[in-house]
């Protein structure tokens, strides 16, 4: 009996890591096709304001508050930032390397090189270098933990 219980326990322990745990963040993901990150970044302005489902491996995460993720594109070296409402969704640090699918509105933000938001009055001034940073303002995400 004791051997049987031990064997059962060992089997259960061995089985645990094999089961991928699906974790839903925020409102989860909407049904529908996934748009590849490379397709979005190839023509980003076409997607601004649209609700997208995107998927990729997490290659970066906000270290302090877990309020954004960086998802790898299918094109080497290319990433897309997925931002979430601070405190509403908190991504853990361990999520780096996991595959995540997220749903949200694709946005274009004008920022200074210092990452401050460029306001309209300053954008035209020659001394302020503004650039467009694209991100998915996500309402939810799903991660299949390995």
């Amino acid at each position: 009996m004791r051997r049987f219980v031990t064997a059962l326990l060992l089997l259960a322990i061995a089985a645990v890591p094999a089961v991928a745990k699906e974790k839903v963040y925020g409102k989860g993901v909407a049904e529908g096709d996934v748009t590849s990150i490379s397709a979005v970044l190839a023509n980003p302005d076409q997607f601004v304001g649209k609700t997208l489902n995107i998927e990729g491996t997490v290659v970066g995460v906000c270290a302090h508050r877990g309020c954004w993720l960086s998802l790898a594109s299918d094109v080497e070296g290319e990433t897309l930032r997925v931002a979430v409402e601070d405190g509403v969704i908190v991504f853990p640090k361990e999520i780096v390397g996991e595959k995540v699918r997220a749903t949200g509105v694709f946005k274009a933000n004008r920022v200074e090189d210092t990452s401050k938001k460029c306001d309209a009055t300053r954008a035209g001034e020659p001394e302020v270098q503004c650039k467009t940073v694209y991100e998915l303002a996500a309402t939810g995400a799903v991660c299949n933990w390995k």
Partner: protein
């Protein structure tokens, strides 16, 4: 009144002992997460530098297996990613390993859970949700009972009508003044 005070004393004593553990969890974690802009209260970061024989910056399909072989990791690898022409990132459970394919330089950045504090913060921030929500609600109710019964424990000059009352008033005024000032600011 003496009977009521007796009940208060009994409740305060029994629930007071019961609340010690949870109070310490919430208080210690409270201080820790209050300073989240200064440090990560749940994880300690580490950086390890090492070197492997460079693989060269060839195609990812060719260099990634070589890098993994040369790193000889004992832990499972979650994923690899070619972040740049000369940079391959290897993701493991507690962090990221940056491998410079040209120089062979390896920088491992990771985070380990702080003993006790990680669990304290996990409970305080209710990351586990469902079961802990009930426990936290019950604990909050216990704190309310402790606060209310505490008012009636001592009678006389040190009680509600004396010093105790003044201290209680101060404790009420403090958050009220703060709330008013912050709202105005």
């Amino acid at each position: 009144m003496n009977g009521f005070r007796k009940v208060c004393r009994w409740l305060h004593r029994e629930l007071g002992f019961f609340a010690v553990g949870l109070t310490l969890v919430y208080a210690v974690s409270g201080i820790a997460v209050n300073h989240v802009h200064h440090w990560d209260p749940s994880h300690a970061a580490y950086v390890q530098n090492s070197r492997i024989e460079p693989t060269g910056d060839g195609e990812t399909e060719a260099v990634a297996p070589l890098v993994l072989e040369r790193l000889a990791l004992l832990e499972p690898v979650k994923e690899t990613w070619r972040a740049d022409r000369d940079l391959l990132q290897v993701f493991v459970q507690d962090g990221t390993i940056d491998v410079n394919l040209v120089t062979g330089e390896v920088v491992r950045r990771g985070n380990v859970k702080r003993p006790l504090l990680y669990d304290f913060n996990f409970m305080h921030l209710n990351k586990g949700k469902a079961p802990w929500t009930g426990i936290a609600d019950a604990y909050a109710a216990v704190l309310i009972i402790l606060a209310v019964t505490g008012i009636f424990l001592v009678k006389g000059r040190k009680g509600l009508v004396g010093r105790g009352g003044v201290l209680m008033l101060l404790g009420i005024v403090l958050p009220v003044v703060y709330a008013v000032l912050v709202r105005r600011g």
